[in-house]
């Protein structure tokens, strides 16, 4: 009986606008109050029943993927999820419209979670900045988006190394690639050169190839992107 209440918590804002046909919604007169009471009752039940806990974990996992994710549909501006984790009713109207860009920066997306993104066959821009669980194995899956992807950002992902970047050669339609600030890449300058050779039509932002080179004693310029003088 607690399971329907758990799902009610997520869809409560939407249903409250409509009719309250379900018995459990009788407390929906005061939505904030019911949510507060519902939450402690839910926590009480979660502490005592494994299946309640399992349902809550499952729903939380689904939520995690949606948190802070912004999506852009064709011809429309960015749509952002609100605090409850669900977007507005507009989402329902746009089910047939293909998703053009996804900004999943900072999102805890992992290998299995990528299934959701790879299903978007017309995705043109993908931003995976600062995703803590994106690693080389996940990059090996991105070839599914080869036909449409034009812009990809992998900046600051702590687990991506140059070995994973080698799989990006499938993305021949890529025009902008951001591989800056990847701490696990051993030689950023050399990696940048190799990636540029691998993707000739793509503009690769990232480490300047002079980054690994030491500046000579006579070169006093503080600008690291100036003309490189090998040590």
């Amino acid at each position: 009986m607690a399971a329907p209440r758990a799902s009610l918590r997520l869809v409560a804002p939407v249903w409250n606008r409509g009719t309250s046909g379900i018995r459990g919604l009788s407390k929906a007169v005061d939505p904030e109050g019911s949510q507060r009471k519902g939450r402690t009752l839910l926590q009480f039940l979660t502490d005592r029943f494994y299946d309640v806990e399992a349902v809550r974990e499952y729903l939380l996992q689904k939520q995690v993927l949606k948190v802070q994710k912004k999506n852009r549909f064709r011809d429309r501006e960015w749509m952002r999820a609100n605090e409850q984790g669900l977007s507005s009713l507009e989402f329902r109207k746009l089910q047939e419209v293909p998703v053009e860009a996804v900004d999943a920066s900072g999102c805890a997306i992992n290998y299995q979670g990528l299934d959701n993104l790879l299903a978007l066959k017309e995705l043109q821009s993908l931003s995976l900045r600062r995703c803590p669980h994106m690693d080389d194995w996940c990059l090996g899956r991105l070839y599914h988006l080869a036909d449409s992807l034009q812009e990809l950002s992998l900046a600051s992902c702590p687990r991506i190394s140059e070995r994973g970047l080698a799989c990006l050669h499938h993305l021949q339609n890529l025009r902008r690639l951001d591989i800056s600030d990847l701490p696990a890449v051993s030689n950023p300058g050399l990696t940048q050169i190799l990636v540029e050779e691998m993707l000739p039509h793509c503009e690769v932002l990232g480490a300047d190839w002079a980054q690994g080179l030491k500046v000579g004693p006579e070169e006093q310029s503080p600008d690291a992107a100036g003309s490189p003088i090998p040590a």
Partner: protein, 486 residues
């Protein structure tokens, strides 16, 4: 308390024996008495190997439930899954015996480290798929408290197998089967191949299969160390020593059709210490033969194949060491970062190594060219005559290259059908095999370990059915031939 216990044990014996023998002055059998008293002490304190006279810390324990001969990746994988699948924590004592603690000649660490799903048998594809999933989640499987996570240095670049006209139909069939099992492999025509990898010379290539996911290469040493660390934390004992003898007992049975069969059961494993004649007899319930290239010798010690040829008793384990070379060269104009592990129809293969345009590669010799497996010396002429021409023909950029170094390692080569042997021996009933994988043992080790552990604990395979790989096929002549061997 000791004395009281001793008195309790000896009491009934004394009264039952009668005074005659005591006063009769029978020969004093001191050795026998001492060993009897020692056994009684051991029975009072179970599990304690009490030897107050000399230091035995370097010796393996006196008994262990499972003794795994061979501490390479297959042996460690079997140990890992045994400890993971045991019904109660700490229920099974496992001892891993490895002759060489530096792993200087072990096939695991000398391997090129590739993993692929492009095989011709569905069982092999499933084994590799599971192993890929294991490697991907290695930090969940092999996590040890307070230790840093493992970095396998996995390159997800895939394998590219090329086929000539004759092999094209077989390749298509194989790819269809691989896709059915869940591998992500795509077929490419020569034109597509030329477009995708312009540095390949597609002359003579009719078809190519390219692995898109879960294929690539990784660092086998890291996997080995990760397994060792995890096993030590799970309570598996490691011993450095060589197995020199098995003490077994035979029992004669009759089959339903009236045929006489001799079943053997191994009771003790004699583990000899390095540089010494000292050995420790380890009492055991099960022995796992994961000795890699030397599995044939271990099997002979256990009595496998000692019998009239043409019978099950006379069927030897057809695993022998075969030497394979790996060469490392530098080629500044070579294929770029996107290069997969390319395997030519002639048998030559290569892959990138690192960021600096270095490449690793080799070629499997034909039966006539097989080098002598007595040592691990490298023959550079083999590269000049056999490997380089084939590579240069396939990748024209390799016409100018400079060999940096090379090494040699052993394949635990199954001369029967180049596929692994798993499961118990039909006659030596408590010896299990996990060997003979002929060059693809490393990539299948996690899954094979689980299969053998399931066989040992449950009596049958539960997750992946490896019945085509049982020992019986050598006697019945049922080949489970693997065609895609590198």
């Amino acid at each position: 308390m000791l004395r009281r216990a001793l008195r309790l044990r000896l009491g009934p014996c004394l009264s039952g024996r009668g005074l005659g023998t005591y006063r009769g002055g029978s020969t004093l059998d001191w050795d026998g008495k001492v060993s009897k008293i020692k056994k009684k002490f051991q029975s009072i304190f179970p599990g304690g190997a009490w030897s107050p006279l000399y230091d035995t810390s370097h010796l393996p324990p006196e008994r262990s439930d499972v003794v795994i001969v061979g501490g390479g990746v297959l042996g460690l994988s079997v140990a890992y899954w045994l400890k993971r699948l045991e019904k109660q924590q700490g229920a099974i004592q496992v001892l891993v015996v490895e002759r060489d603690h530096t792993y200087a000649r072990a096939s695991t660490v000398l391997s090129v480290g590739g993993i692929r799903q492009q095989f011709s048998l569905p069982e092999n594809v499933q084994l590799s798929l599971f192993s890929a999933e294991f490697l991907r989640n290695i930090n969940e499987y092999l996590a040890v408290v307070d230790d840093p996570p493992l970095d396998l240095q996995f390159n997800p670049s895939g394998y590219l197998l090329l086929a000539s006209e004759e092999g094209a139909a077989i390749m298509e069939r194989n790819v269809k089967m691989q896709r059915q099992e869940g591998a992500k492999v795509c077929l490419m025509s020569p034109e597509q191949l030329q477009k995708k990898f312009p540095w390949i010379n597609t002359e003579g290539v009719a078809l190519a299969s390219y692995g898109l996911e879960n294929e690539g290469w990784f660092d086998p040493w890291c996997l080995l160390q990760g397994l060792r660390r995890k096993l030590q934390s799970m309570g598996v004992l490691f011993c450095q020593g060589e197995v020199t003898r098995f003490i077994s007992s035979s029992s004669h049975m009759e089959t339903a059709s009236g045929e006489q069969v001799t079943l053997k059961r191994i009771h003790e494993v004699h583990v000899k210490m390095d540089h010494s004649q000292e050995f420790q007899p380890v009492e055991c319930a099960i022995v796992v033969n994961a000795a890699g290239a030397w599995s044939g010798q271990i099997a002979e010690l256990a009595g496998v194949g000692t019998g009239p040829p043409g019978t099950m008793q006379g069927t030897k384990l057809p695993v022998e060491p075969r030497k394979r070379y790996v060469y490392l060269w530098h080629c500044p104009q070579g294929p770029g970062l996107e290069a997969p592990l390319v395997a030519d129809p002639s048998g030559a293969y290569f892959r990138r190594e690192g960021l600096g345009n270095s490449y690793l590669g080799s070629c499997s010799p034909t039966e006539e060219e097989e080098p002598d497996p007595g040592n691990l010396e490298v023959d550079y002429d083999f590269f000049q005559e056999k490997v380089w021409p084939r590579l240069a023909q396939r990748v024209p950029a390799f016409e100018t290259l400079k060999v940096r170094s090379a090494w040699a390692g052993y394949y635990d080569y199954n001369t029967f059908d180049q596929n692994g042997v798993v499961g118990p021996h039909p006659l030596v009933i408590n010896m299990y095999f996990a060997t003979g994988f002929s060059g693809h043992g490393l990539q299948q080790a996690p899954a094979v370990g689980r299969a053998v552990a399931e066989m040992m604990l449950e009596g049958h395979f539960q997750t992946i059915n490896l019945s085509p790989f049982l020992f019986g096929r050598f006697y019945f002549g049922e080949k489970a031939q693997e065609h895609c061997i590198l």
